[in-house]
């Protein structure tokens, strides 16, 4: 809770060393979960590969050389080359930057919208709550993949420049996902707002904005973290499906999804699996890793499971 409500200075000195903070307990529980730790290592590896890996690559993304086109994996080109003679490994790492970034930013947008609307709905109740939750019902019943595909097609029709498409995609994927988080946060706020510390904020005469963002929302952070982690995997999968269909991230910007769309060409699909299998494995590994972490976090942050 915020500093001006509680005199923290007194607390600091008297705090016993043996008592763990809730975050430390959660941390300990998380590290005890083997699968979650494996997931964490996998995701760290993916990030290092995608964000630092390209710096060590001897190749250049703009090395078009038709002499080296469609090479199978070998000593110089570890994962082979594509039809323009570009190194697949380098492209895959750069594609990973885009895909991971889309997943992360889309989730940030989801969290901002979902947490705010959920908190507002839960805090004010009555008419506001009804209104927001009815809108949430509408969004929940919208078939999400078709809507994503339709919006992707709209982006193509509006002739959005390839380089700015990823920003639109982040927003679209982020906005469409807000309902789950909003419901979770609302549920938490409904119980939290009846607790004593909220009476204290009332007595202090704090503004609503402050009550919501400084006193209520911080208490829902465990729920938000778990939902957000899992939603990163969802966002990455959505982006890759769209890009695979050619209406998400479009070339020349590489993304895992649009690299797999090389498989739409029968010869490439059949004879040159190095074009599309590695990026597919990246998607698979990333999303398994994120789901493992999310599940580990759920167990670690849930106060009901005592270990």
């Amino acid at each position: 809770m915020s500093a001006d409500v509680m005199p923290i200075t007194e607390n600091k000195n008297t705090k016993a060393k043996a008592v763990d903070t809730p975050w430390k307990t959660a941390m300990r529980r998380f590290t005890r979960n083997k699968l979650a730790v494996i997931g964490f290592i996998m995701i760290v590896f993916m990030f290092i590969l995608c964000f630092i890996g390209p710096l060590f690559s001897p190749h250049n993304l703009f090395d078009y050389s038709l002499k080296n086109k469609n090479l199978a994996p070998n000593g110089t080109y570890w994962l082979g080359t594509d039809k323009l003679g570009r190194d697949i490994l380098l492209r895959m790492m750069l594609a990973g930057r885009i895909s991971l970034l889309v997943g992360l930013v889309a989730t940030c947008i989801t969290v901002m919208i979902g947490a705010t609307l959920g908190a507002v709905a839960g805090f004010y109740g009555k008419l506001v709550d009804n209104l927001i939750m009815r809108v949430a019902d509408i969004f929940m019943a919208l078939p999400s993949l078709p809507i994503l595909i339709i919006l992707g097609a709209v982006l193509s029709d509006l002739k959005v420049h390839p380089s700015s498409r990823i920003y639109y995609l982040m927003v679209i994927i982020g906005v469409l996902n807000w309902t789950t988080l909003a419901r979770l946060v609302r549920g938490q706020i409904l119980t939290l707002r009846e607790q004593e510390f909220m009476q204290a904020t009332e007595a202090l005469g704090l503004k609503d904005k402050r009550k919501i963002f400084k006193h209520l929302l911080p208490n829902t952070i465990p729920v938000i973290i778990v939902a957000a982690t899992l939603s990163v995997a969802g966002a990455i999968l959505s982006e890759s499906a769209l890009s695979f269909l050619g209406i998400g991230v479009v070339p020349p910007t590489p993304s895992w999804g649009n690299m797999i769309s090389a498989a739409n060409n029968l010869i490439d699909f059949r004879k040159r699996p190095w074009l599309w299998i590695p990026p597919g494995m990246c998607i698979l590994i990333t999303s398994v890793a994120i789901n493992l972490i999310g599940d580990g976090l759920r167990d670690a942050l849930d106060p009901k499971t005592k270990k």
């Binding site: 919208l142 097609a153 698979l284």
Partner: protein, 320 residues
């Protein structure tokens, strides 16, 4: 119960109106229409205008919304521009192809999930349980299109065990049994992918549900009575663990009739999802809008079905 169902159905109306507005607004955002998407260079501008006024595409958006929504209420979904048939007819033609793979996938995924769920709960923390947990996570995070492609590559192209795509071998005029076998061969891979995709979360659900039941006192009583372990697990525990799972059946409704867009596209399966994806690419708005509303209705009905089933299965739940 009847009252409850009627009230829920009435509550769907505002949601459907909201959905229809959102979907229509998105489609209205798109520059160009079916006529421009066809891009027939031989068509004169006058002819294009004429066609637009026939299809009613020349009216302002809000008017078109009310005309469209009004027809929807009367049960008239309009005519698909691409298929030159009423949207409902097109849906009816293709939805059963999707239903075939949907129902098989449903059956297999429930069957596999129940068995693995029961055993991994029975032997919690065993090696088997750990393997299952890992597989569950992998299934839950599979990118459907990639797995579909991998299976086609290995099983259809490299090992030639199954046909690459489609529903029947072209040129094969088989009837009866032969036809059935042919379809079965073609549907094997898509069913397999669909099953894999849904088995993960289902197994997890059954496992948790089973774990909760196994700790109950009446299970201890059953064991104390000296019943066989098999009877305890399958008769006493499993039946009770199934109650919450029944709710999930309702949520399967959109999956059965909605088609799997990307999978059907990859396997060239002539299902409704494939047609829907095409309609989006071709800007066939009547079909696109009509089917999206159909999907939304399925989702809402599925939710209602889930609640009703739960009320039936568990008498402690009173639906009001």
């Amino acid at each position: 119960m009847k009252q409850y169902i009627i009230r829920r159905l009435l509550q769907m109306i505002p949601t459907l109106i909201g959905i229809s507005i959102i979907i229509f607004a998105i489609s209205a955002m798109v520059p160009g229409d079916y006529i421009t998407a066809r891009a027939n260079p031989n068509m004169s501008i006058e002819k294009q205008e004429q066609l637009r006024s026939i299809y009613g595409l020349d009216k302002p958006d809000y008017q078109r919304y009310f005309i469209w929504a009004g027809n929807m209420v009367k049960g008239n979904f309009g005519d698909s521009m691409q298929h030159k048939q009423p949207v409902t007819t097109v849906i009816n033609t293709y939805v059963w192809n999707s239903f075939i793979i949907g129902i098989f996938a449903l059956f297999f995924s429930w069957f596999i999930a129940m068995i693995t769920g029961i055993f991994s709960a029975k032997f919690q923390y065993s090696f088997f349980d750990k393997i299952v947990t890992l597989l569950v996570f992998i299934c839950m995070s599979l990118p459907s299109f990639f797995i579909g492609l991998l299976l086609i590559k290995f099983f259809a192209l490299d090992m030639k065990l199954f046909p690459v795509g489609g529903m029947i071998t072209s040129g094969l005029n088989a009837r009866g049994w032969e036809y059935f076998i042919d379809v079965l061969k073609h549907s094997f891979l898509p069913i397999m992918v669909l099953t894999m995709l849904s088995t993960g979360s289902l197994t997890r659900y059954f496992r948790t549900s089973m774990l909760e039941v196994i700790r109950q006192d009446y299970i201890r009583t059953a064991r104390a009575k000296g019943l066989k372990e098999r009877t305890v697990i399958f008769k006493h525990a499993f039946r009770n663990a199934m109650i919450p799972a029944i709710t999930l059946l309702g949520f399967e409704l959109p999956g059965l009739f909605g088609g799997a867009m990307i999978l059907e596209q990859i396997f060239v399966w002539p299902g409704v999802g494939h047609i829907y994806l095409n309609s989006i690419n071709m800007r066939d708005y009547p079909f696109m809008l009509g089917f999206t509303i159909f999907l939304a209705m399925l989702t809402l009905l599925g939710n209602l079905l889930a609640d009703v089933l739960y009320g039936i299965a568990d008498p402690r739940i009173r639906l009001k």
